[in-house]
């Protein structure tokens, strides 16, 4: 600890993360407070903090939204100007090779997209933030949480990041230590691989039956000439450019007749250390079917973010007094339907229901985690997670066995041939680099782009003069071991070119371009030595706006 201590501020409810889960939680709780069912709690007592400088700036998703939770939260959402793009009108699952495309029949049953809408999740988050603020909630942007405050075995709140440190970490002239935000109830809604949620998992040894595993989503938003796809078209693809040993696939959604969301999801447990997700996205766009769609169009935005893929068995079983984890932070994503927004909102709302009980006196604060868990287990969110509980694990053995497994899952309503299929964390599955360097891809800067150009289109920025927020615990490992054993995969798995391996006359070393970071967390997940630590920067990050 530094000698200087920050301000101490008290709030009844502290929510970390202004995304679908955190804002749904805040709005629901404000509704309950206004209705008088949350005891003495007033909407003004609810504080949401987020590291992004405005709501939605760090939000990234496809996205197909099942409005089931939204309808529960704001029944007249359509009248309230909810930002729909288009209802899902046509749906296909495609199998693609380098040149060809086949349609997989009946596969749409896996996704259950009837009644769903295409949305830009960033816009949805802006809308939710406005709703929450109108209900009296305090949404504080540009406030990142550095660590959990733990007192007597319970979570007492969050310490925010220090500000005004010099690049070498020493306090600068404008130094201000992080504030201690004490919450009677703290809700972690940080999204996938949130750093405070990771601290909670580690400090309290929280685990599910399976370890959590992740997938990386890389997304681009394009303006294309109108008439190539009907608004509301949803295509998912399996196969190229991913090796059949890998989990993942592509998507193309027509948000409007002239605007396309497309991208690639890659399971972060691929074995080939030479694999490069950014290059794979570029190869995907060179597929004739995809490039025909994009030709003559214009890239608007690029971004990347991880999502939890472990399903129900990876959700931590036990709780810790004082804190609840909701949404992606806790792992509520249905990998069969490839959806998590509705589950994030629903678990956020259930956390609000449970927290209201604390303030009305119905629930003891120490019983809050078990009360929340009971509410989740009796909700439709759990039933949905239960059906897909073994879906993703089936792809451990590759695409073809995964598909056969998925069919079996549909028939057995999620069971397969045993109750729980095991899983293994991503960094344990990376194999030593023996496949050689992949063929370099020369971007045309029209449809395919260099990493630098892609990063430019993320809008990411971190003020110069702050310490690097990516920490290498033992730099020696990079050249003593990693170069030989894995060929420095950080230079490939990072979708933003944060890590560079430089060999110059003074020797080989890693160069960390922390300013490029998209806050996706892939590096912590994939680093085979667990040598990289992602911390919340003083400020900055992507500016996704409508991703």
């Amino acid at each position: 600890m530094t000698a200087a201590t920050g301000e101490r501020l008290e709030t009844p409810v502290l929510i970390v993360g202004a995304g679908p889960a955190g804002l749904a939680c805040a709005l629901r709780l404000a509704q309950l407070a206004a209705a008088g069912t949350a005891g003495t709690l007033s909407p003004d007592d609810i504080h949401v903090i987020d590291k992004a400088y405005a709501p939605g700036m760090h939000t990234l998703s496809g996205a197909v939204l099942d409005p089931v939770a939204l309808a529960e939260l704001v029944p007249d959402y359509a009248e309230q100007g909810f930002p729909f793009e288009a209802p899902v009108s046509e749906e296909r699952l495609l199998f693609v090779t380098k040149r060809r495309t086949w349609r997989i029949p009946f596969a749409e049953r896996l996704f259950g997209n009837d009644g769903c809408h295409l949305v830009a999740l960033g816009k949805v988050v802006q809308w939710l933030a406005a709703q929450a603020e109108a209900a009296g909630v305090n949404v504080l942007m540009g406030v990142g949480g550095a660590e959990l405050l733990i007192e007597d075995g319970r979570v007492a709140g969050v310490r925010t990041v220090d500000r005004g440190r010099n690049p070498d970490g020493t306090p600068g002239t404008q130094f201000e230590p992080g504030a201690e935000l004490h919450g009677r109830v703290t809700v972690l809604a940080e999204g996938a691989y949130g750093s405070l949620t990771q601290q909670l998992r580690e400090d309290f040894h929280l685990a599910g039956d399976n370890p959590q595993v992740y997938a990386l989503g890389l997304k681009e938003l394009w303006d294309v000439p109108a008439g190539r796809l009907r608004a509301g078209t949803v295509w998912h693809s399996l196969g190229y450019p991913l090796d059949p040993s890998m989990y993942g696939g592509g998507w193309m959604y027509a948000l409007r007749e002239d605007r396309v969301s497309l991208g690639l999801v890659v399971g972060l447990h691929y074995p080939d250390a030479a694999f490069d997700p950014h290059a794979a996205l570029q190869r995907y766009k060179r597929h004739p079917r995809v490039s025909a769609l994009l030709e003559g169009g214009r890239l608007l935005r690029y971004g990347a973010k991880v999502l939890p893929a472990g399903g129900l068995w990876a959700i931590p079983k036990a709780g810790v007094p004082g804190v609840l984890a909701v949404g992606d932070a806790a792992g509520y994503v249905d990998m069969q339907r490839m959806k998590g927004i509705h589950l994030a909102m629903k678990t956020g709302m259930l956390a609000a229901d449970a927290a209201a009980g604390v303030f009305s006196g119905a629930v003891d604060v120490d019983e809050l985690p078990s009360d929340f868990a009971a509410r989740v287990r009796t909700s439709w969110a759990w039933s949905e997670m239960w059906k897909a509980r073994n879906y993703h694990q089936g792809f451990s053995a590759g695409l073809y066995r995964g598909l056969a497994h998925a069919a079996l899952q549909l028939v057995t309503r999620g069971r397969g041939v045993r109750g729980r299929y095991p899983d293994h964390p991503g960094h344990e599955r990376l194999m030593p680099n023996r496949t050689g360097t992949p063929q370099a891809l020369v971007p045309d800067e029209q449809v395919t782009f260099s990493r630098e150009t892609s990063v430019f289109h993320s809008g990411t920025r971190h003020e110069e003069g702050q310490p690097a927020h990516l920490l290498i615990a033992e730099p020696g490992i990079c050249h003593d071991r990693c170069t030989q054993e894995f060929g420095n995969p950080c230079t490939r798995f990072c979708p933003a070119g944060v890590y560079e391996w430089q060999e110059d006359p003074s020797g080989a070393h890693a160069k960390i371009n922390a300013a490029n970071c998209l806050h996706c967390k892939t590096c912590e997940i994939m680093d085979p030595y667990r040598n990289i630590r992602w911390t919340v920067p003083e400020n900055g990050g992507p500016r996704y706006e409508a991703m």
């Binding site: 501020l9 504080l140 500000r163 404008q174 260099s450 920025r461 110069e464 160069k511």
Partner: protein, 324 residues
């Protein structure tokens, strides 16, 4: 007897600093009818005139050392005034960090710093202060014995709705002969930071080095070329990150934007982050080993060559041609 509030007026040159108006509004709202503004040092009449409608009394204080303008001298004066007037509140404009902490230390009080507003209630005032670089607001109540020290955030906005006290302030001259004439600190002329790379922005010719320059020695060689061409030397981000050039020589989205007549790019790959800071240049000459380097897309003259060979050659021929 009603409470007295001491307000330390801040002035610069011939004018009352705007934050003093905010501080005066906050001082009035503290409830005391008696708001005594203190003007330290030889302030012009315009300052007194601007203050007069805002407070009930003004003390124009002079004394040894006060013209030095240091927080240390001001602290001596404040100390003396607190002793004489016994105020409940001392309100100080939050323009610096050298006065309030000194007074607080001397009187063993804490400072309620950076207040944006005050709310008054039956059990005394509650201050709203911005913390965490203005991203959070804290509500603070003073405890313990007066005087309580409060600093006011510039732009706190209290002035807009604050009508002055009725009438004009009573003005008194006050000479504090007992102040120490010498202090350990004194205020010199304020330092103006260097105008950031204006020479680079206005340059007619820019020689820019990229990662292809490979070493500090390479950068020095490019510097020699720039000298011969009468050009400014600049770099791309990797070069500045390496410390081979200072950060204010960086061209691009997180640096300077230039549009010279001639832009000579040496070993610059041409990432979009760089080119958006120079693509308006009249003529772009790019030298790079990699024929696929994106810089060649916008170059008027593209030279595919190794800098190690071509750079000394360029310098030699320019040296033979004589000074630019």
């Amino acid at each position: 007897m009603s409470a007295t509030t001491l307000l330390i007026a801040e002035w610069r040159g011939s004018e009352l600093h705007p934050v003093t108006r905010d501080a005066a509004a906050l001082a009035r709202r503290l409830g005391g009818e008696r708001v005594v503004a203190v003007v330290l040092g030889p302030a012009p009449a315009a300052v007194t005139a601007a203050l007069a409608p805002l407070v009930s009394e003004i003390r124009l204080v002079d004394g040894p050392g006060l013209s030095l303008g240091s927080g240390e001298a001001a602290c001596h004066a404040c100390d003396e005034l607190i002793r004489r007037l016994r105020p409940d509140w001392v309100v100080i404009p939050g323009t610096g960090y050298d006065l309030a902490p000194r007074v607080a230390a001397r009187w063993r009080r804490s400072v309620i710093a950076n207040c944006a507003a005050v709310e008054t209630g039956v059990d005394g005032p509650t201050f709203i202060r911005s913390v965490y670089q203005g991203r959070l607001l804290a509500r603070v109540r003073p405890v313990g014995e007066p005087p309580h020290l409060v600093t006011v955030e510039p732009g706190a906005g209290g002035a807009a709705d604050g009508e002055g006290l009725a009438g004009q302030a009573v003005i008194e001259q006050l000479h504090l002969a007992s102040l120490p004439a010498e202090t350990a600190t004194s205020l010199e002329e304020p330092v103006t930071p260097h105008a950031r790379s204006s020479s680079l922005r206005d340059a007619g010719v820019v020689v820019a080095v990229g990662r292809g320059i490979r070493s500090q020695e390479g950068v020095e060689l490019a510097g020699r070329l720039a000298q011969l061409l009468g050009a400014e030397l600049a770099g791309s981000r990797p070069v500045c990150d390496e410390g081979w050039l200072p950060a204010d020589r960086q061209i691009g989205s997180s640096g300077v934007t230039v549009a010279p007549h001639l832009y000579l790019a040496l070993g610059v790959s041409g990432a979009i982050q760089h080119t958006m800071g120079m693509h308006q240049s009249r003529r772009i000459v790019a030298i790079n080993r990699d024929p696929n380097a994106p810089i060649f897309r916008i170059a008027d003259i593209a030279v595919i060559a190794d800098l190690g060979e071509i750079l000394p050659e360029l310098i030699r021929s320019l040296e033979q041609a004589g000074p630019a």
